[in-house]
């Protein structure tokens, strides 16, 4: 067998190995006649009380007591629901966005955007960021610790919205004022819907990041509102996910240059 033949075999093998991944990957491209969706997520259940935690480790940095609001609603509308539009392969770039955690922590999820999601988790005041967010498989995620104490970053992936079965992805020390970069590989993230991140040292630090593979997602704001724009025309599945309340979905048809209004309503879990 000569060198050319060997090279062809190698290239063919590589193509076979890489083909499925390449077919699934989202690509940024120019799409004409785009439409948009906007709507609100209602919460019709009884209002929830936050969980309270007595801080045992590092109260000098984290405070003596912390609380965690898992179902946050105002005037009947739900904050922090993750809305995802499935099945889009080509379209707009990932938008740069920043979401800040609830006080007293001021950690943030910063999405750099562009060709990929580009998630940076900036931990501050014992807070990774808001209770919910998004993450992409096979991308590097930068975890930065701006605190003067160590956190132990433990991440899990689950195949269901509420994370009934969680599988460890990374379990890693996050040293004071240090940063680490970790990939959430596709073999561990297979069929994964959500990634939960916690700190093994501070049990009030827990967040849920829903897996997305395109930039057509939104997180409902404090009035339950969301908007997704620059959507290529077509029929898609629109999902709304919440770690406690679960998942709802509906078929939506996006028409060129039109805005579609939708609504979701959750009751008690």
């Amino acid at each position: 067998m000569d060198n050319n033949t060997i090279a062809l075999w190698v290239l063919a093998s590589l193509a076979l190995v890489m083909a499925p991944g390449a077919a699934d990957a989202y690509e940024v491209g120019n799409v004409q006649n785009v439409g948009s969706i906007h709507g609100r997520v209602s919460f019709l259940g009884s209002s929830k009380e936050p969980l309270h935690f007595k801080v045992e480790k590092n109260p000098e940095v984290c405070g003596q007591e912390r609380s965690l609001m898992k179902v946050e609603s105002r005037d009947g509308f739900l904050t922090g629901a993750v809305i995802v539009l499935e099945g889009i392969d080509t379209g707009k770039p990932f938008p740069p966005q920043t979401y800040t955690g609830n006080l007293p922590g001021t950690g943030e999820f910063r999405y750099l955007g562009g060709e990929s999601l580009g998630l940076h988790v900036k931990t501050k005041d014992c807070n990774f960021g808001p209770f919910t967010g998004v993450i992409a498989a096979n991308e590097t995620v930068q975890f930065q610790n701006q605190d003067s104490i160590k956190h132990v970053l433990h991440s899990f992936v689950s195949k269901d919205t509420r994370g009934k079965i969680l599988r460890t992805v990374h379990n890693q020390d996050l040293q004071p004022h240090d940063e680490i970069v970790r990939v959430f590989p596709s073999n561990k993230m297979e069929n994964g819907v959500v990634v939960r991140i916690i700190c093994n040292r501070h049990d009030f630090m827990q967040n849920w990041l829903y897996v997305v593979d395109n930039p057509y997602f939104a997180i409902s704001d404090q009035e339950g509102r969301f908007t997704i724009d620059h959507i290529p025309p077509g029929t898609y599945t629109l999902l709304v996910r919440h770690p406690v309340l679960g998942e709802q979905r509906q078929e939506v048809t996006i028409e060129a240059r039109k805005d579609l209004q939708v609504g979701f309503a959750f009751g008690d879990e």
Binding site: G163, N171, N187
Partner: protein, 380 residues
């Protein structure tokens, strides 16, 4: 050691290292993805209780009992990139001769032998390091420095003492994560496989001055290593629920071939089970049962004097390869103290002491009276 056995050892070591390095990027425990039915069943039960099932939740350093009692080694795996350095000191005291389960007096032994051991102390300084190579494999290396002292009495009533000291055998191991799962009501359960080799760096020709002459070759119990490459297979299970933790470990030492002196130490098998209670975030206490069985020496060291005088009186039981085996069950009690973020690291100070509650020896042999361990572990 014959050439073929050396080749076998070489292939085993290179093969083991090859497996470790060929597997990356290792992405988790070996049984991940193969336990679908178990996970489904556990997940359903957890859901019925309103709980979550967590898979792959391995090592956490934040508990005083996150490590087994200090006398247990290779009891946990580390997360990727994590280092742990350990210093252990062990003191073991042996006194009185025993045959089977019967204690013997010095005179009992001296009826059949020219010399009897009276007591023995063994001290070990052990330096070890563990490193989380990836999410599957944790590597471990350990080098001990050993000091032994044995007091004897001969038929004339004269006492003498022999000493040996130096580095012991070097142990290299790879710990393979098998599986871990956890729910709040059933606690967390972790399994890993122990594989390793012991390299013959310990002296098997120690000498000291004895009534037989200066620089006499010391018998088997005074030697600092086995002289052979030994395989160290094993299996470890640990569990935690609320303030209670427990574990079980079976470890073997399987000798390969014969050493340069022409003999082979008997294989040794060890089963440990322990339980610990966490009284506070920083302190836990433990109880441990340690069952050991070890076998007689195969062949013999041809250079070791075994008889004395024209009547060929057996010299001393410790020079008889057929009087080295035995079984023992030790009961140990320990304390683990956690010093979190001391010098910026997780530090564990662990102490353990205990004594045999059952001892059967292919004697006459010195019985073990008690042992004491203290160790300092730094996780970074």
């Amino acid at each position: 050691m014959t050439r073929s056995i050396r080749y076998l050892c070489f292939i085993f070591i290179v093969g083991s290292l090859g497996i470790v390095y060929a597997l990356p990027p290792a992405e988790g425990a070996l049984l991940d993805g193969l336990m679908g039915g178990v996970e489904e069943s556990l997940g359903k039960k957890a859901e019925e209780k309103g709980e979550r099932l967590v898979i792959g939740n391995f090592y956490q350093a934040e508990r005083p009992d996150s490590h087994a009692p200090i006398g247990v080694m290779q009891d946990h795996t580390h997360n990727k990139g994590e280092f742990m350095f350990t210093y252990r000191y062990m003191y073991m005291y042996m006194d009185k001769m025993r045959n089977g389960t019967d204690n013997l007096s010095n005179n009992d032994v001296l009826r059949d032998f020219a010399v009897t051991p009276k007591n023995m102390t063994t001290q070990m300084h052990m330096f070890s390091a563990m490193y989380g190579l990836n999410d599957t494999v944790t590597l471990m290396a350990m080098l001990p420095y050993v000091m032994k002292e044995m007091e004897h009495q001969n038929r004339a009533g004269a006492n003498f003492t022999t000493n040996s000291s130096g580095f012991g055998d070097t142990k290299l191991a790879a710990l393979w994560r098998l599986y871990a799962f956890e729910t709040p009501s059933i606690g967390s359960h972790r399994f890993h496989l122990n594989t390793g080799v012991s390299l013959p760096t310990g002296d098997i020709n120690p000498t000291d001055n004895t009534p037989l002459g200066n620089n006499s070759l010391l018998p088997y119990p005074m030697r600092l290593g086995s002289g052979t490459v030994d395989l160290l297979p094993g299996l470890t299970y640990t569990g935690v629920r609320n303030n209670v933790s427990w574990g079980f470990q079976a470890l073997g030492t399987v000798r390969i071939g014969h050493n340069q002196q022409g003999y082979k130490e008997g294989n040794r098998y060890k089963v440990n089970s322990w339980g610990a209670y966490r009284w506070a975030d920083w302190i836990s206490t433990s109880a441990r049962l340690n069952w050991q069985q070890w076998y007689n020496i195969k062949r013999e060291d041809g250079q070791l004097q075994t008889t004395v005088g024209p009547a060929q009186i057996p010299l001393v039981p410790t020079a008889d390869p057929e009087r080295q085996g035995g079984q023992r069950l030790d009961l140990m009690g320990g304390v683990n103290i956690l010093f979190p973020e001391f010098m910026g690291l997780e530090n564990h100070l662990n102490v353990e002491a205990g004594a045999p509650i059952y001892q059967y020896l292919d004697g006459p042999q010195l019985r073990q009276a008690w042992s004491f361990w203290v160790g300092w572990q730094m996780v970074m």
